[in-house]
Symmetry: D2
Subunit: 355 residues, 4 copies
């Protein structure tokens, strides 16, 4: 999977230029952190609606030394070309930004919003209330890297998946596509996420005093907008999902409990699941089926996804526990990984020299 | 439900004397807090294996002013009679303590361990590995107050339920006993608890640095010892439970997500559930079906249980969210409530003058 | 200090009516909690600018059962008389509210803002930028209960002190007024507070993701508005204070480290300090000099102030550690305590039956 | 300062072999994280008393993929040679380990305990109660990198400084050595640290339920063992320190408030301090004087030290705020930085390609 010599540092002049539109949000900040370590990229543009004109590292002191550029407004950003554009905007805003973008044909775009995730424009409209021009929509490949790697390799435009969606689809997809087991009834997903998933804009419900020492569910069963996204990707397999997210008093991290019953019980259910996983993810450096009960803390700060399976023969029920860092594998890390795939670089470029 | 004049303060001399065996554990500390405000009780005895000989409030400064007694060893405690005994010991230890207790016939006992919770001694042995003398076991009434109130009224000895168990049974019992709906398949319980549920003894996995910013499951599906306790109480209704507890980076509080499918769908599933709840808990001051999605924070520090129901007609699935404070309604609060019931006092004696 | 029979419950009809203006802020919420347990008061009015028209307990579910009144706007509130008014407004707003209040002459007012805390109107104007009508200002007594108890007894209007101020003045005042030691040079105060001190209005810097796992100073040395308040109260003693507050990733609680050098060293410096404290606070149920190093957790949820002194003879330096709950002794608890003093009731009325 | 070509990856065979003795403690884990990314090192040995025989990444799942070696006992470790040895042991244990170590003459050692930090053996004995063989002691250079860089360059054995000590000395040393100002009276240091500083061994006072939502001082004024270490390094300048550490409910990070009065007031006190800092730390990539009030969060996860100065002319008092990550710049990061200096490599080798 490695490109020869990929680790060789290259002169700044030879690096691709990168723009981060929406650099001061939590995904934007995390993007800056990853991109600033990437040996083949140079951050050339950072934007912020709110803070344009200020130095990024004055606004976000933890980025000083990593990126000391001055923030442009998104409007200014449209005037300058970069080789790669990461869009860390809200839904609806990404569509708007690209409509007026003059360099679309010569720029690679990885969008972290929901705007280009849906193949079915009606589903997008029903879910997010907006419209995506057909001309744009058809061009985006859904960026769940390990599942759609082949298509991403040929893509110029990638729609990065939702954070919850990534935590749920990575363990489920191989089981369903390889028919490791036959699911009977709905798949019940109970997820818990750190607060950074709610974004950087101050809200009453994400104030420290409201979240600290608390735990609660929100948008249960079929209310959350990540549910249609999950179901669309899994539509070939005819499964129904119920999804209840919860807010954890932590900054980063998602744990998803995925529970379903099976109709073809056998003594080796767990083995068949791990076998499907191990085959599907052979050579994928970031996805790790493990045997212990995964903790959120073991993937925090990494681009890893880790998951575990358990089975109760009495009720023919499977439990999968799946952990990612919502800002990295669930957003910015997967975005850079997708760029690596698009460019034919090793997927882990920008991360430590992992074996 | 009120006893006339119950609020009148009574002279200390007329108050019942209370002993708390195991006063320095988290449930013991919480018991002291509640008992010190109770107008008809006087704490006369506090014990600790580890800290005997020291003043309780020197060991636990937050109790100073509430209880300044010196800690006895459990052995010394056996030599003095009190009117009421709360046992905040580990399983196995409660049985041992009572075996040698000379005043059993003239003392009311509320045990917070698991020792007397099981009607079936085999189930207790299989679950906890110990044996309870039949002479003792038969005498204890299971102290899920609102469900077994009548039996508790006549009881001298009460076995206080587990914390997770309380959060799950309070919403489930009325639905099943009143046949509000017909459950099909296993009931999937996904609970999350604060760390105080793990007790006061230092452990590697409950160190601050291990729990902070983390979230994880433990003893999933059928491994946790609260599962057999739940299933025994629900055995008349022939349901199976799968129970996966999680550790939250908070001190107190439990939220249980309870999910099951039903075989008799109708337009008014949610209404039928609330109707069953409202009838069952009419006049119960601590149990509150609510319409919003309950937060752990709204029951913290209280003896309340609050729960909510939602229904997905597409998959015929019910979701119940149930919140309690694990140390209060899940332990010490329910224990004092049980004493109030045993004595014929208003159930909320010891709490604020609630209407 | 007790009024005979103070504990006897009195019929609701005989209770004083209380209004809480600004009931949905953190101090307002805490006031409701304390007032709802008070045996001689009945909450008759709760207001909120933002949430007028809604039921208080729908907005703040943790108050349900304690106060289920509907929120009025402050304007409506001016039209109805209550016996006692607690003002939980921002500075400037309290002055405005009282300007148009028709029942001022027959109502007791405890104001929790900064508006009436200063004797010197120039100092108020310089510090907060507003003006207080002389007619109002002269009528308010500064409500540091244990220090100004005599004046509070005769007061109809009380200005409740700032939270940091309370934590600093309670240990310092007796030392300075009784000349336990002679302070040389500035008094260096390093305080740390929970986030609730910043109020309920959403701000970027009090979002969970900004505070969690962080710690920082703000408004150091002479920048914070609580400094002039401290120095005015201590002006008889001619001391200078440097005050550097910090933001802690906790909800409630303040710890203040108070450091100063002395010019009259002797072997018994610490004893002289404790002697001054013990005499000054004899009979004060809420103020407790202790010998151990106080923790924030031991005063949380209480109206207690606890402090400790240490001395380094080598450098002739005294360290005092002082802990309070910023929302209770630092705000709402002291406010109710002040009302108790104004009414000639036992100071601890509304709290548990402490000995 | 850079060695030419330092960034070029080198073949594993040419990397220096490294041993981490005490790999499962919090400093050990952090060392593994940094070393596994270092382009010129290969971890060849990891030890643990408690967990010898197990795979490191089975014990610490967050290290999986970074280091999958099996843990040796310290005894086994003595039998194999490595090029570099990091000792993450308790005080007293490092001396013991090295006494029997046969490869001392051919191995570089960086010790993270207190054993070799003191030049004065009496001071070490008084402070830590142990004895260090003179033969060993004289060989160690004190590893406060930016201050003693020249000596470290020629050293084979380095004693890594204490975490609090690092946060205090980095800002103080240039001010004192360059006589930017004249300090009058004691230097008052009020520090706050995350819980990881207390080590991995379970203790009652570092249990989640004891630390969460709490804040407290410990070992105040002259009781903490980092005080003599600070005063010995600063002994050329004849200053006295008072040091009061506090425990923060966070995992990593230290903020030190450093307060002192000066005897030579002038209008440009702050400028003189920044000038001294900027000259002293010119070319030091990890030490950053900044103008804003530093937050712990902005240095977490980095090897940076950041500090700020403020001055109050009225009382002639300077306040310095200094932030580091206690496990990185305060321990493992500075240890690897010291190795880089010893080897003549760029100091930041092992960190991201910072400019």
């Amino acid at each position: 999977m490695k490109t020869r010599g990929a680790h060789l540092p290259i002169r700044a002049a030879n690096r691709l230029t990168v723009g981060v539109v929406g650099a001061t949000g939590y995904t934007g900040q995390e993007l800056i952190r990853i991109l600033s370590r990437h040996p083949r990229l140079r951050i050339a543009l950072v934007t912020s609606n709110r803070l344009a004109g200020k130095k990024l590292s004055d606004c976000i002191p933890s980025l000083s030394g990593l990126c000391d550029l001055t923030l442009s407004s998104p409007d200014e950003a449209r005037r300058g070309r970069v080789d790669v554009l990461f869009l860390g905007l809200g839904h609806g805003e990404a569509v708007e930004f690209l409509k007026g973008y003059p360099y679309l044909s010569s720029t690679r775009v990885i969008d972290l919003s929901a705007d280009f995730r849906f193949r079915d424009p009606d589903l997008y409209r029903k879910t997010y209330g907006g419209t995506v021009p057909g001309s744009l929509n058809g061009k985006f490949v859904y960026g769940l890297t390990e599942v759609f790697r082949k298509a991403i390799r040929r893509a110029r435009y990638v729609a990065n998946p939702g954070c919850y969606v990534t935590s749920v689809l990575l363990p489920l997809y191989p089981i369903l596509s390889r028919k490791a087991v036959s699911v009977s009834g709905p798949i019940i997903v109970t997820s818990a996420s750190g607060v950074s998933g709610a974004g950087v804009t101050p809200k009453a419900e994400t104030q420290f005093c409201e979240v600290d020492e608390d735990y609660s569910a929100y948008k249960p069963l079929r209310e959350h907008r990540h549910l249609p996204e999950m179901e669309e990707v899994l539509s070939p397999f005819g499964v129904r999902i119920l999804f209840t997210p919860h807010l954890l008093p932590i900054r980063n991290g998602i744990l998803s409990d995925i529970v379903f019953r099976i109709s073809n019980p056998s003594a080796d259910v767990v083995d068949r699941i791990y076998r499907a996983w191990n085959r599907f993810y052979r050579g994928s450096v970031f996805v790790h089926p493990v045997r212990h009960l995964v903790h959120v803390s073991e993937v925090r700060g990494t681009n890893d996804a880790r998951f575990t399976a358990r089975y109760d023969p009495l009720t023919r029920t499977v439990l999968i526990l799946s952990a990612i860092d919502n800002l990295i594998k669930g957003a910015s890390g997967q975005a850079v990984q997708n760029l690596n795939v698009m460019m034919g670089w090793p997927e882990h470029l920008g991360w430590a020299n992992r074996s």
